[in-house]
Every structure is written in C-alpha cells, then in structure tokens.
Amino acid sequence: MNEALEKIRQDALARLAEVQDEKELEALNVSVLGRNGALTEILRTMGKLDKEQRAKLGQASNAVKKELEEAIGKRREEIAEIMMEKRFAAEALDVTEPGKRKAPKGHLHPMTRTYREIRDALIGMGFTTFGGPEVEYDDYNFTKLNLPLDHPARDMQDTFYINDKVVLRTHTSPCEARALLNLKPPFRLVMPGRVFRVDEVDASHSPVFMQMEGFVVDRDITLADLKGTLDTFVHAVFGEDVRTRFRPSYFPFTEPSAEVDISCSICGGKGCRVCKGTGWIEILGCGVTNPHELENCGLDPKEWKAIAFGIGVDRVTSLKYGITDIRLEYENDARFLRQF
C-alpha cells in the first residue's frame, strides 16, 4: 500500500515538474488531490484495512497530501512568474517611437522670448513695467525729450506723421515723459513697446520694431550707476562671460550719453562678419537724462537725477539666436517660428 502511495507521490512530483501553465497545474491538482483524485482513491481503500494499518496509511497519505499541496502551491507561484514574463515579452514596446500629443505644442515668437528675458532681468533689479501708446504726441516723442521742432537731431529719426502734432512714436522714450508727468519719483521702470521709423525693409531694417526703455529716477543716480545697471543686465541676458564696452555717444535726451557694445557672441570677440571684424556689437544707447527733459516734465534737475537706456528687442533677438535677416521676424513662417 505504501508503495502505491509512494508511486502517486513520485508521479505527481514528476508531472508537476513538467507543468507549464495554470490549466495543466489545475488538472494535476484535481487528478491527484481532487474528489476523485488518486490520493482520495487510496484513502477510499482504507476501509478494508485494520485499525493499525489504517492509522499508518492515514498518516502517510496526509504527509503526502501536505507535501504535494505545498509543491503545487510553489509551482503555482512559479508559473505566475513565468506567465508574467511571457506577458512582458509580448507587451514590450519600441520606446523610440514618437510620443503622442493632443495637439502639437505651439511656439512663442522669438521676440516675445527675448522681451520676457530682458523684462525679467530688470524686474529682478527692482524695475516695474510701464507703458504708453504707439501713436503718440509729437510733444512727448520729441519736444519734451529735448528735441524741439528745429533741433538738428530730429533728422536722426525719420518719423511717420499722422498730423503736425501726432506721430507714430519713433522710440519708447515718450513713456519717460508720461512717467515723469504721472508718477511720483523715485521709480525704476521698464517700458516695452513697438516703435516706428521710416526705414525701407531690408535685412537689417524694419519700419516696425520693438524697443524696451529702462528709466530710473532717483535723487543721487549717476553715470556709474548706469554702467553697473547695464553690466548686470547684460550678464543676465547674454551670460556672465560676455564683456561690455561703454563708449561716449550722443542722444538729445541724455547727457552724458553712451552706447553699449557687447563682445560678439558669434566669434567670442575675435572678429567675424556679424561684428564686422571688430569683435564688438552695439546693443543699446543710454545716458544720464538731460536736465531739459526733467525740467520740461516738471522735475527740478538739481534735486532729481535720472538714467535711461533703450534696447532694441529685434536686435537682441537676432544676436541671441544668430538670425541674420530681420525680415524673418515679421514673416511668420512657421518653419522659422517652430525653431524657438
């Protein structure tokens, strides 16, 4: 009898080792441990045995039953693992296939990016945004800024006129007059906006372009502060490695006036086509605000000082991204826009 039991055990273990999926495993389970299984069959024969033998067989078969149950349980876990492996293999992806999106992402215009970058650099230095209209009084665009009607420097800026007292602003500087007339000093302002000049369109000229004006009014502001402010600003926008050059120039609304050059970002200052071999690129005009402007706007220039700078957003954008033709910035060709 024990032999029969042993045979069941051996057979079952041998078959168990062969089992590859859950279905076979359950079939084996039923055929051995089930109601009509081999082990149960053996127990059914126990009635014919004497008490002692019965007890012995009962013990033995229980041990076998327990052993097989454990073995089957263990095998069940193994098979679950195998099945999962198989599933993983079947579900494996080519992870290099393109990602899916609801709609392809759009793109900000590069000038918006530059404008935000400049603005945020100045905000960090305590500047607040301020603005004025694109169509502006001649008085604010010129006269209040120390450019009276017969001033020779008016020829520097070719102006679109609406009538004899209204023009398309030629710079963002009229915002200075508006600030001086409407705000209580001291203040630090950044004034972005579109400006207009009678310039025929070519690779480096556009009749419409974007400027940002920085304007600080305080009691003891100096030319050295202007230099420090612009150094900080240039490093924030163009990177710490960029060098600046602050050279004398002239603007009617500032005195002393300067133009700021930065070391050419294309060639690193060695000289190339973009910087015309000089290693330097002009990025803005600036200065200590002319006392006439303060006076024209009701401030005592002995008491208050101001510094101002005007940045060409188009120009900075061209420099930052290496754009060689300004026309691209107003053509809105998506193949251009999608690069930013």
């Binding site: 709609a103 759009g106 020779p152 009678v198 009749p207 050295a224 402010t229 002239y250 300067a258 053509e331």
Partner: protein
C-alpha cells in the same frame, strides 16, 4: 566726415597705427565707420616694365607682352592696346587683382595664348588726367619716372593715402570740418592742437567801390561776410588741392569753386562765389522772397520760392536761395572777371524748412541745418582769401564786407564742478578738469566752488543755461574715459519690481494659446483701404475709422490697422503657399481708431486663426473656451450667432462675457478667402484683451467635495432642427427636481434613418446627486422622468425610440 590721413598729418605727429587711432577716437565718441583707400576698389596692381612685345600668332589686333614686375619670372600678358611699346612702364593687374567696378583679374587664354594678368588703363584704375597725366588717354596708362618694378600702383603714383570715414553725432557740428576733427584727433593722440593762424591779406582799393551788402532779416541771417576779388584767372586748381578734394569725395571744377569747397571741408563752413558782374550794382540784399518769386538755381531748375524763405538778391532779382543753392544767373564761368565770395551764417531751422518745402537738400544746406556759427563764417572768408592769394587767382579788393548782427563776444559759463563729479560719480580735482578741457582747447579756471569756462566759439553745443553742468560733465567724462569710471549698483530705497497685471495677463494669454498648438505671429501695424475692402468691411463700420499716415510707404500701407485679420491672413497665406504645415496661429497686437486730431483710441486684440484639415468652428471654439476657462470666466460666458462681414453666414458668432461682446469668431467668408488665395478653410477669432481682462472671473473659493456618489445618466431625444444645444443644456439643467443636476454634456447629434425629416436626435449625459444621501432607485427614476418631461414641455422633445 572723411578725414584723409595726409591732411591729419598737417596737424598731428602720426605715431600710431590706423587701428590704434580708430580705437582712441572711439573712446572719445567718434566712431570710425570705415578706413578707405585713395584709390577705392583697386588692389593687386603693380608697376611693370614691358621687356618684349610680339604679335599674337592668331589675332591681328592682339599683342603678347613680356612683363617684368620685379619677380624672378617675367609674366606673359596679352593686350589689345596699341599705345604700348618695349621699355614702357605700365600698371599691371596681377592674378587676383581688383579693379574699379568690381572686376577681378584671373589668368585666361586669349586666342590660344595664356595671359597672366592685365595691363590697365587709367579708367580701369578710377583715375583722371588730374590724378595722373595720361590717365585719360585711349589705351594703357603709361607711367613716367624712375619707378620700382613690383611696387603697388598706389604708392608709385602717390595715391596711397588712407581716409578715415568718421561718423559724427549731431551735436558736434564743429567736427564736420578738418580743423574740428583734427582738434579732437590731436587730443586723442595726446598732442597739443595748434589752432591754425590765417594770414590776413590786405586788399587793394576800396570794397565799397565794387560791392555792398544789406541784410534785411538779421534773425535768419545773423552774419553776412563777403569780399571782392577782381582780375580773376579761372583755371584748374593745383594738384594738391584737387587731390584733397577728391579724397573727401568732391569733384574739382576750377580754382575759384575749388577754393570755396576746400574751405567748406577745412572749416566746415559753406561758401558761395557770385559772378559780380551779374549782381546789379554789386549790391547784395539778403531778404525774404516775394510772393510768387521764382529762382533758377545752379542745377538749371526753376524753383518757386515763398516769403518764408530767405533769398540772396540784388536790387532787381534773386541770385540764390540762402544756404541752399546759388542762382544760375550769377554762376562763376570761365568768363567771370570779378567775384564776390560769400560766407554767411543762416538760421538752421529756416534752412531746414526751406529744404523740406523745396524737397531739395544740398551739402551746404545740410551744414546750415546742423548749425554753423558766425565767428567761423568770418574765418572761412579770410581763409578763402588767403587761398586766392596763394593760388594767385585774382586781385583781392579792400577790406572784407561784414554785416554782423550776431553776438560774437566770448562766452563764459560757470560750472558747479562738485555737481560734475556727482553726475559722473567721480572725484576729479577741479584743477584736473581744467587740464582735461585744455586738451580740446577749452580754457577754464577754478574760482572757489566754480569752474569758469571760456566756451570757444566753435562749441555751440555747450550751453549757458541749466545744461552747462551736464555739458561739461560730458566733456570731462569722455576725456577722463568712461572706461575709468567704475560701475556701481544703484542704492537708495529698495524697490519691489513687478510685471504689471496687464502684461502678466498678456503672458497668460500667449502661453495658453501656445499650449493650444498655436505659433505666435508679429505682423506690421500698417494696412490699406484695399485690404479693408477685401475684408468686406462696410462703409461707416467702425473698422473704417483707420488712422491715416501723412507719409506712408504706399497706399497699401497708408493706414494703421483696425483689425488684426488682414495681417494674420497675409501670414496664413504665406504659410499655406510655403507648405509649412502649420495650422494654428495667433497674434496679440494693437489696433487704432481715428479720434479726429487727437491721439487715436488704441485697443489690444488677440487674433487666432486655425486653418487645416482637422480644424473646424468647434476646434477654434474649444480653444476660445480654454482661454476663457484660464481666466475663470466660463460662468457668465455665452456665444450667440453674429459677427462681421468677413465671416461666412451661419458659421459666425459673437463671444459674450456677462452679456458684453468681447469678441467674435467664425469661418472666413469664401470671398475673403479668395482675395487672399487661401484654398484651405480658415477659422478666425478676434477678442479684445481689455474686455477679456475686465470680465476676468473673481477670486476662486473652495467648494466642499461631495460626500455621496453621483449617478450619471444618458438620454437621447428627438427635437426640431431649430432647437440649439444651448437651449437643450439650459432645459436639462432647469428640470424641477429636488436633486442636483450637473455635468450636462452633449455627446451625440444624429440625423437620418429613424429620425423624421427636419428633426434631429440629441444625446446627453448628465449627473444626479444629493448633498446628504446616496440616491435611491426611485429618486433616480423620478429625476430622469422629470428631465424628460421638462424637455418635452419646453422644447417639444420626445424620447428617442
């Protein structure tokens, strides 16, 4: 301003490289835009000798020259010129040489014979007879003298000057002259500039016997100086003078005209020479033009002049337009026997107005507009007379005639030098300021707290008024060197910098639309009447109230835009034509509406355009709703049929927030599409940024989360075609049931089999819930029934079978 190095050397000791000079001038505020050659466009041309000459075997008209250019091997060059001979010295353009007109020399085969260069004519080198005798002969320019073979042609013929092209800022009118710029150049090179001394030439006889001057308008002509020269010998001016004039871009004419031009360049003061015989009684009258007067100017043009213009006249007629151009009737010719040299100061703003009216600016006028000063006028006249004497061009008569109403007394200003240091943030001792100003020939002295400055006559840019401290700060600053002023950080109170709400919202709008897949456009603000017509904007419509430019580039750019649509369509069309594959675009920009003579009304708009296979009215509407949702304004938002004529009827709508129209959207009208040649259907929305911001949703407050589950139900009903989705949604939401009805969504519209003609099936889902308990089956059934009944009552809806 062109400054030939040879001319600069009259005033300074040249001890730096041109590059160093450029750098030094830059630090003083003078930008050298270019360094030019005296023979522009020419390079690689050397002196050669023809050592042998033979006939070309295959061409009668060609000769083969053997040329020695000082190199080991002689060159073979084929020429068609007939004036060459053995032993002749000639200009030889070597391989790679450049000639006038952009010609580049390369070896070529001429009728089977290799030619390694070219012999040059004077014309090919840009030379005239005045530059070099024989330069204008027909054929090759034969060189004379003892020349070194292989030497550059520039050096060989003494045309190797370099010319600095200096950009001047408008405040430095004084530097528009050789003397003025050399004054600065000397200081830049650390040298003392000696002001030139003009030799006064005593004349014979009495000026009054020959000429007289009356200035009627001394405001417009503060000084008029003149001198008579008789017994003129009109001839070409000497070579040195011609060379200098040419170097600065002027054409030599004759000695008298050249003298006036030379003085113009040297002193920066425009002069004029009249034929005295053509001035009646020799009497010059400076007066305003008479009504209806016409002056024929040197360029043979009849120019009508008006009483606001200043004329130079004689008692009978105009002989020139003051400061602009002389008259043809008194022009110097080879027959002129006596002349009156004029050097006058005219008011710049008046000359400016005159040139604008005449639409004609001359070099002279440009100088007057930039500003000339009366002392320099007199100096210019004296210098011209000195040159007349030097060139022996005629007999100088009497004393100068000088009508001067201007105050030419020396000007002194007092400057607060502590204030100068305060502006610059420097600590420069006043004595050092005196030294610095001395380097540019401005003398000054320290008197207590004051720097007393003698302003030289040529520095009209230095003011006497409030600006004086700043003017001197600028001079001291640039001489001290901006580079030597250490940068500082602004101190004082702390400022809280921030982006204004308007620009912050603009950022949010742009970022949202980018996330919707749009590329951002920047279009010009200009448009034209034809574009407004093409947009079908009716007469009298607000969008016709465009601001007009007085001086536009052309009719199509003569107006400021009143809608972004035209520019957006231009760009969409461009993208369609270039097959960029982009379907979604937006622009945020300003439009302007005419407000009579005052500032126009400026409005900021968002324009959104969708144009692609996948796009329709509702994809655009989806993005609009996303925009509104981001501004927390979906509540109170509605959309009703309507909108401009550029939209297609039946596919256009007004966007409302709290009942106010904030924008419109729709499919572009086929006629508009056609005008822009865009076959792909375009959907466009235009929304006011200001109105959007005005209706921005209020502060968001937290609502408690439901504690009991909602039940989602579906319902499909058949309604008349005229029933709208908005009506259906409102009706479902309004069903009078004690439960909360939410999440009402249309998920299907069906027309066709099983649905009667003129009707449609609309399928909605909605959710029922209660705040305080889980719904029972009865409640759900009652809720559903209530919704069906309400739809039936309000919209005649029947449950779909």
């Amino acid at each position: 301003m062109k400054l030939p190095l040879s001319w600069l050397k009259d005033y300074v000791e040249w001890n730096v490289t041109p590059e160093e000079f450029v750098e030094r001038m830059m630090w003083r505020g003078f930008e050298v835009a270019d360094i030019l050659d005296e023979m522009p466009g020419v390079s690689g041309v050397v002196v050669g000798r023809i050592t042998a000459l033979e006939k070309h075997p295959n061409a009668d008209k060609l000769q083969i020259c053997t040329i020695d250019v000082g190199a080991a091997e002689p060159l073979t060059i084929v020429t068609g010129a007939t004036n060459v001979f053995e032993g002749a010295l000639v200009p030889v353009a070597l391989d790679g040489a450049k000639l006038v007109g952009g010609i580049e020399i390369k070896p070529t085969k001429m009728r089977g014979v290799e030619s390694y260069g070219m012999l040059c004519s004077g014309k090919e080198l840009g030379l005239t007879e005045a530059d070099y005798p024989g330069a204008e002969v027909y054929g090759i320019m034969i060189l004379n003298g003892d020349l070194t073979l292989g030497e550059s042609i520039e050096k060989a013929i003494g045309m190797d000057d370099i010319i600095f092209d200096i950009e001047l800022t408008p405040n430095r009118a004084d530097c528009q002259s050789i003397i003025g710029i050399c004054r600065e150049a000397a200081a830049a090179l650390g040298q003392k500039f000696a002001e030139p001394v003009i030799r006064k030439v005593a004349g014979e006889g009495n000026s009054a016997d020959y000429a007289s001057v009356t200035v009627e308008n001394t405001e417009l002509c503060p000084r008029y100086s003149a001198r008579v020269v008789t017994d003129l010998v009109i001839e070409p001016s000497p070579k040195w003078m011609q060379r200098r004039l040419k170097a600065v871009g002027m054409r030599p004419i004759n000695n008298i005209v050249d003298i006036t031009n030379y003085v113009l360049v040297e002193y920066g003061h425009p002069m004029h020479a009249f034929d005295l015989a053509c001035v009646k009684d020799g009497h010059i009258v400076v007066r305003n033009a008479h009504e209806g007067e016409v002056v024929t100017t040197l360029d043979s043009k009849e120019r009508p002049v008006t009483p606001d213009m200043l004329l130079i006249a004689d008692p009978e007629k105009g002989v020139g337009i003051a400061g602009v151009m002389g008259g043809e009737n008194s022009e110097i010719t080879e027959n002129t026997k006596a002349t009156l040299f004029e050097a006058a100061a005219f008011k710049g703003s008046n000359i400016r107005a005159t040139t604008r009216k005449l639409r004609h600016v001359t070099d002279a006028a440009a100088r007057f507009i930039k500003g000339v000063e009366p002392v320099n006028a007199y100096l210019a006249l004296e210098r011209a007379i000195e040159l007349v004497d030097e060139l022996k061009a005629g007999k100088i008569i009497g004393e100068p005639i000088d009508v001067c109403a201007a105050d030419v007394s020396p000007r002194v200003i007092d400057v607060d030098y502590a204030h100068v240091n305060k502006i610059l943030n420097t600590a420069i001792a006043p004595e050092d300021m005196v030294k610095m100003l001395g380097t540019i020939n401005i003398s000054a002295e320290v008197i207590g707290d004051i720097l007393r400055v003698d302003v030289p006559h040529f520095r009209t840019d230095i003011e006497s008024g409030i600006e004086a401290d700043w003017d001197i700060a600028e001079e001291v600053g640039r001489i001290y060197g901006y580079d030597n002023i250490p940068p500082t950080l602004m101190n004082g109170q702390t400022f809280r910098g921030r982006v204004g709400d308007d620009l912050r919202d603009e950022d949010a709008i742009k970022d949202l639309l980018v996330n919707e897949g749009c590329c951002e456009m920047y279009n010009y603000n200009f448009t034209g009447p034809a574009a407004l017509d093409a947009l079908r904007i009716p007469e009298g419509d607000e969008k016709r109230l465009a601001v007009k430019l007085l001086n536009p580039f052309g009719e199509d750019q003569s107006l400021m835009r009143t809608t972004l649509l035209a520019g957006v369509l231009d760009s969409v069309a461009r993208n369609y034509g270039r097959k960029t594959g982009q379907t979604r675009f937006f622009e945020v920009g300003n439009v302007h509406f005419d407000n009579n003579d005052d500032l126009p009304e400026e409005r900021k708009l968002i324009g959104i355009a969708y144009a692609g296979e996948e796009e329709d009215f509702f994809t655009l509407k989806g993005s609009i709703e996303a925009l509104l949702e981001s501004f927390n304004m979906l509540e109170g938002y509605s959309i009703v049929a309507g909108g401009g004529e550029y939209f297609q009827p039946g596919q256009k709508a007004l966007i409302l927030a709290d009942g106010e129209v904030i924008g419109e959207c729709g499919a572009i009208h086929p006629k508009v599409q056609k005008a822009w040649s865009i076959p792909q259907k375009v959907y466009y929305a235009e929304i006011s940024v200001e109105k959007l911001r005005a209706h921005k949703g209020g502060k968001r407050t937290y609502q408690a989360l439901p504690r009991f589950p909602k039940v989602t139900l579906d319902i499909a009903v058949v309604v008349e075609e005229s029933v709208t989705a908005a009506e259906m949604k409102a009706a479902i939401a309004s069903a009078p049931v004690a439960l909360t009805i939410g999440d009402v969504e249309l998920f299907d519209v069906y027309r066709g089999v099983g649905i009667p003609e003129g009707k449609k099936s609309m399928a909605y889902s909605f959710a029922l819930s209660a705040a305080d308990h889980t719904l029972t089956g009865d409640e759900i059934q009652q809720g559903m029934k209530c919704v069906i009944d309400t739809l039936g009552e309000k919209l005649g809806a029947q449950l779909r079978a």
